[in-house]
């Protein structure tokens, strides 16, 4: 069975029908780039996958943990799904190391020694082992986002969700974050990322999903569908952003 399996997923905000029947299978090791216009429902889809948004209709299963029509164990789901946000959302009163240690300590109830080891390992992975004791406001945007990635990895998620994680960064800081994501992909991490970095989507992703008006409008191998869009909407979109 697929690592992430979504079928017939609907989501409304009041009268706004935002997701209109999403079907998606994500296999272990997939690197999926989610693209589409602003307002097409990309963030909402990501946020349903770790239970930040409830589901009105349909089914979502992540590594055996299921939500049917919004019912299910949200916290079990969230332990399997890591999320990185556009605005980093680091906890400002905690050091980089403490940010990474928090969830393993209070959610998994691991010992201080274990969580410290995890934090060191994850900060090393994102190239910030020398910033263990730095506070978020002492770090650049790119460094903060790498700490946020380390923080999500510390829960050893099965899949990582990234929502425009380079959009708030100065251009010269984008690559250091993308390099970390690329390395995660190379290590076999399953990734679903909303991105406007089309070259990155094409070079690192093995699957591209184009969302339009709350539906998956077109999907496939990024090298193929970006070069040869099958729908006028994707053709228009790629022309606008590439």
């Amino acid at each position: 069975m697929s690592l992430v399996s979504i079928s017939g997923l609907h989501k409304h905000f009041g009268t706004n029908h935002v997701l209109k029947g999403i079907d998606l299978q994500v296999e272990q090791g997939d690197v999926i780039a989610l693209i589409g216009r602003s307002g097409s429902g990309k963030s909402t889809l990501l946020r349903t996958i770790n239970g930040l948004e409830s589901i009105d209709e349909g089914e979502l299963v992540v590594d055996g943990t299921a939500l049917h029509h919004g019912e299910g164990d949200l916290r079990a789901l969230r332990q399997k799904v890591g999320m990185v946000f556009q605005q980093f959302n680091l906890f400002p009163h905690l050091t980089a190391g403490q940010n990474v240690m928090l969830a393993p300590t209070v959610v998994k109830k691991l010992s201080k020694k274990e969580t410290e080891d995890i934090a060191k390992e994850m900060l090393l992975k994102v190239g910030l082992s020398d910033k263990f004791h730095a506070f978020p406001d002492q770090l650049s945007g790119g460094q903060q986002q790498r700490v946020a990635i380390a923080r999500a990895l510390a829960m050893r998620p099965k899949v990582m969700l990234c929502d425009e994680i380079t959009s708030a960064l100065d251009p010269e800081l984008v690559n250091e974050v993308l390099a970390v994501v690329q390395q995660l992909a190379a290590e076999g991490m399953t990734l679903i990322m909303v991105t406007h970095e089309m070259r990155f989507a094409r070079d690192v992703g093995n699957k591209l999903i184009f969302m339009h008006h709350g539906r998956i409008h077109e999907s496939g191998d990024p090298r193929i569908i970006l070069a040869d869009p099958q729908t006028p909407e994707l053709a228009n979109f790629t022309r606008a952003v590439m």
Partner: protein, 222 residues
């Protein structure tokens, strides 16, 4: 004939004044610790609308903010015995200060909690923290840091307000001053010194609390 200032009859009672000042500081410390703890509890119930506690704290806050402290104190000391609750002057004073500061700090801390950026809550949720864990580990400290100066000011207000506890025979600084001037009739000199002591204590307590806040709540000593 001009008034002859003479501080000696007051200084003869320096020990009483200092004991009174120490008692005021003690009342303030107890009132501040328990009052702020009550305020944290009230603030979380109000900010996150945890019913029925949110409604109960709402009524409590309004009741306290719209009545005089002296009346609250008299109610506790003279009123409660009718219900069989008889408190000493000290107990009634501390209780009144806790209840008073608890109400004001509920509102102050609530503002700090409500200023929490939404992204902080989302990050905590995405890491599988539950609501209680999110409050304790993510929300509380930055919320207190945001409103700490306002909270410190409120503690000072309550400390100065504790002067009225002399009315129920709590032997704090004002009680001591009153006692001394009734003996030596040196009202000017006595209250001048008492005023100076209050002033010094207010400066001291503000400095101390701001430092403690910087160290333990903001988390980075400057």
């Amino acid at each position: 004939m001009a008034y002859q200032f003479d501080f000696a009859p007051v200084l003869a009672h320096t020990d009483l004044l200092l004991q009174g000042a120490a008692a005021t500081l003690g009342l303030t410390a107890a009132g501040a610790v328990l009052g702020i703890a009550l305020g944290v509890l009230g603030a979380i119930c109000r900010a996150w609308r945890i019913q029925p506690f949110s409604a109960a704290f709402g009524v409590y806050v309004e009741a306290i903010r719209n009545t005089p402290f002296l009346v609250q104190l008299f109610f506790i000391f003279f009123g409660l015995p009718a219900l069989g609750v008889k408190l000493s002057g000290w107990e009634a004073s501390i209780l009144a200060m806790v209840i008073n500061l608890g109400a004001y700090s509920t509102e102050i801390i609530r503002a700090g909690i409500e200023a929490t950026p939404h992204g902080q809550m989302e990050a905590a949720a995405s890491l599988a923290l539950n609501r209680a864990q999110t409050f304790v580990y993510v929300v509380l400290r930055p919320a207190l840091a945001r409103v700490w100066p306002a909270l410190v000011s409120q503690v000072i207000i309550v400390m100065l307000g504790s002067a009225v506890c002399s009315q129920i025979a709590a032997e704090e600084l004002t009680f001591a001053a009153n006692f001394i001037q009734s003996r030596n009739f040196r009202a000017f000199e006595t209250f001048f010194l008492a005023t100076a002591l209050y002033f010094a204590m207010a400066l001291l307590v503000r400095q101390l609390l701001m430092r403690l806040g910087q160290r333990f709540i903001v988390g980075r000593p400057r």
